[in-house]
């Protein structure tokens, strides 16, 4: 993971926006290493951090597409909860093969994503409004679908989806790496990826130049939905239950990761590795403060301050170079 970031981020000449955030990230890591050298820097803890960054990181990948296209998706936390509930329903031991809860979670995500996308692209509803609506409605649906209580009693195979290992690396981290790789490839190497940037940069110009703006938007929200569905599956597997109230506030963590990573809220600009650093940064802060035994009340204050500070460093370092 780390290796890939430095490799890709090294030709930074044209990508100065992400440099500030990388510096902030390194500073925070160095600071935490100084404060608790024995516990924080242990390899097992570094693996733990990547594992904890995974679910938010996967949501952030989808969110990144949406924000670059000039939109926002507030529904991902609720979508993850509904996907988790539906997956858990079909994951009781000896009932259905593992593929059923798997596809169920992805289908739930795709459906909510399609609804968001159709609303934005064809209904011309502002993304904030439509996804606020689905965020609320989908939370209600997940409470209805679960009868208000967590769905438990899932099979060992289902539990293994998130808690397993592949050659010593947690599967969660493996999924995260694969999804980052695929998302980065689509964003930087395909026509579709370039169109996402173009639409976010100047929608009218994109339209005039013959891009099917609506189709691209529909795809972007669907992608975000599918990734939210997958994150919900992982969340349910990780907590061995499908909780209708899970994932509350996850949309904000995903947005924070994307913004910390230097993606412009206005759309049209941002790099995939910025988002990865953003997701890692949020996990590092939480992990470091928990290890230090900092009270949760202070953690909220510190986290908020670090988010603002990180973006401030980013803005200042960018201004200096410009």
């Amino acid at each position: 993971m780390e290796e890939r970031i430095t490799q890709k981020a090294s030709p930074l000449k044209g990508n100065i926006r992400e440099l500030g955030i990388l510096i902030a990230f390194i500073l925070i890591v160095a600071f935490l290493m100084m404060l608790s050298p024995a516990a924080f820097a242990r390899p097992s803890n570094l693996v733990n951090i990547v594992k904890q960054a995974s679910i938010n990181g996967i949501l952030a990948c989808g969110m990144m597409y949406v924000i670059i296209s000039g939109g926002i998706d507030l529904s991902v936390g609720s979508t993850a909860a509904l996907a988790g509930v539906m997956a858990a329903h079909y994951a009781h031991p000896g009932e259905y093969p593992l593929i059923v809860p798997f596809l169920m979670a992805l289908a739930v995500g795709a459906l909510v994503g399609l609804l968001n996308g159709a609303g934005v692209a064809y209904g011309e509803i502002p993304p904030f409004i439509i996804t606020l609506g689905t965020m609320t409605a989908v939370r209600g649906v997940s409470l209805i679908a679960s009868g208000g209580a967590p769905v438990f009693g899932v099979s060992k195979a289902f539990e293994h989806v998130a808690s397993g290992f592949l050659g010593g690396i947690p599967l969660l981290a493996v999924y995260f790496a694969v999804i980052v790789a695929v998302c980065a490839f689509i964003l930087t190497k395909t026509v579709f990826g370039r169109r996402v940037y173009t639409i976010g940069g100047n929608e009218t110009a994109a339209q005039v130049s013959g891009i099917d703006v609506r189709h691209v938007k529909l795809m972007v929200y669907t992608l975000s939905g599918v990734l939210a569905g997958f994150a919900g599956l992982l969340l349910a597997s990780r907590t061995v239950s499908g909780s209708p109230t899970a994932g509350t506030g996850y949309e904000l963590d995903a947005i924070a990761a994307v913004i910390i990573g230097g993606v412009s809220m206005a759309g049209g600009a941002g790099k995939w590795y910025g988002t990865v650093i953003g997701a890692l940064m949020i996990a590092v802060i939480g992990n470091g403060l928990d290890i230090l035994g900092v009270s949760s009340n202070y953690q909220l204050v510190i986290k908020g301050a670090i988010i603002v500070l990180a973006v401030l460093i980013d803005i200042k370092s960018k201004a200096r170079r410009d």
Binding site: G119, G123, T134, T136, V141, R238, T239, S243, G247, S296
Partner: protein
């Protein structure tokens, strides 16, 4: 172009409908009710703080079951954790006329004026589960003292680890009544055991995923833990998952509170050391009985405390339904 707009409109309409469907159970009393001329069956209303976990569902089911047994009708109002919403639900119902109301409060302070207004209108008010800050405003209270539940859980944990060792506490949302009461109960036991040291203490907001993440981080800190004591079962199960993933289940015991079905299953399997039942069903049954008695002009005890029960592997079978 227009066809597309139409499709979009349809989609929006569907979304609005699904939104409404999501809200429907929360709507106050059915409009058909007041139109009924004869008043043979007594009508009651139950006001729940929310209907989104096993506890609130069990409590409202118990009230409904008792009402059915008494031949009374009960409508359930869901305030979705919003105190202002609960107040307006109570006011609406009081205005429509009702034989008695049962309230599981969102906030122990905020609803006091609404309770007073109901009582002034001559309607018996029974508070359930959490006592309001002005107990005299209501007719009766049926519930538990959170402090006792916390103390019972902590006492068991301290006994199990032999009265000494490092422990970690997973708390409910800071400042919530459950968190404050249960923490007081914890403290009363910890203060008597100077060799028990609280090395970590943080909120996981009643949720499994937050507790899981928090415990994973604590386990990385390199401090030896003997027990993790959580203020509800959802968080206890998150901590248990982290402990089992780290293969530390032989060293660290995990304790919960609430006796939810999944926690009971974990106690039966010998994974969760213990949980505490706040006798939810009994609370619901007693609350409905009290409201019914009051509506007949009978007197009831102003405060009825239901006992907590400690559940371990030995007695868990009595509680699994």
């Amino acid at each position: 172009m227009n066809a597309r707009k139409l499709t979009a409109l349809c989609l929006t309409g569907m979304l609005t409908l699904s939104l409404l469907a999501g809200c429907a159970p929360a709507a106050p009393a059915e409009p058909a009710a007041p139109a009924e001329p004869e008043q043979t069956t007594k009508k009651f209303a139950l006001f729940m703080s929310h209907m989104s976990n096993a506890f609130t569902i069990e409590l409202s089911d118990a009230v409904k079951a008792q009402a059915a047994e008494l031949g009374a009708e009960v409508t359930v109002n869901d305030a979705s954790k919003d105190a202002a919403k609960q107040i307006s639900q109570i006011e609406t119902t009081v205005n429509q006329g009702i034989d008695g109301i049962i309230i599981e409060p969102v906030s122990v302070d905020a609803i006091v004026p609404a309770v007073k207004a109901a009582k002034e209108a001559g309607i018996p008010v029974v508070i359930v589960n959490q006592q309001i800050s002005d107990p005299a405003a209501a007719s009766a209270y049926v519930g538990v003292a959170n402090k006792d539940g916390g103390a019972m859980e902590m006492k068991k944990a301290v006994e199990d680890i032999g009265g000494k060792g490092n422990i970690a506490l997973l708390l409910g949302p800071m400042g919530s009544d459950g968190q404050i009461g249960r923490s007081e109960g914890y403290k009363s036991i910890i203060d008597q055991n100077p060799d028990v040291k609280v090395v970590f203490e943080s909120t996981a907001n009643w949720t499994t995923d937050e507790a899981l993440k928090l415990t994973e981080n604590w386990l990385q800190a390199g401090k030896e833990l003997s027990a993790i004591v959580a203020q509800n079962d959802g968080m206890a199960l998150g901590a248990l998952k982290a402990v089992e993933d780290a293969k530390l289940q032989d060293k660290i015991k995990v304790y919960g509170l609430d006796a939810t079905p999944d926690a009971l299953a974990a106690v039966k399997e010998g994974r969760l050391a213990a949980t505490v039942s706040q006798s939810t069903t009994t609370q619901g049954l007693e609350a409905m009985k009290a409201a019914f008695a009051l509506s007949n002009g009978e007197t009831v005890e102003p405060v009825k405390l239901v006992d907590f029960t400690l559940i371990t592997q030995e007695n868990v079978d009595q509680f699994i339904k």
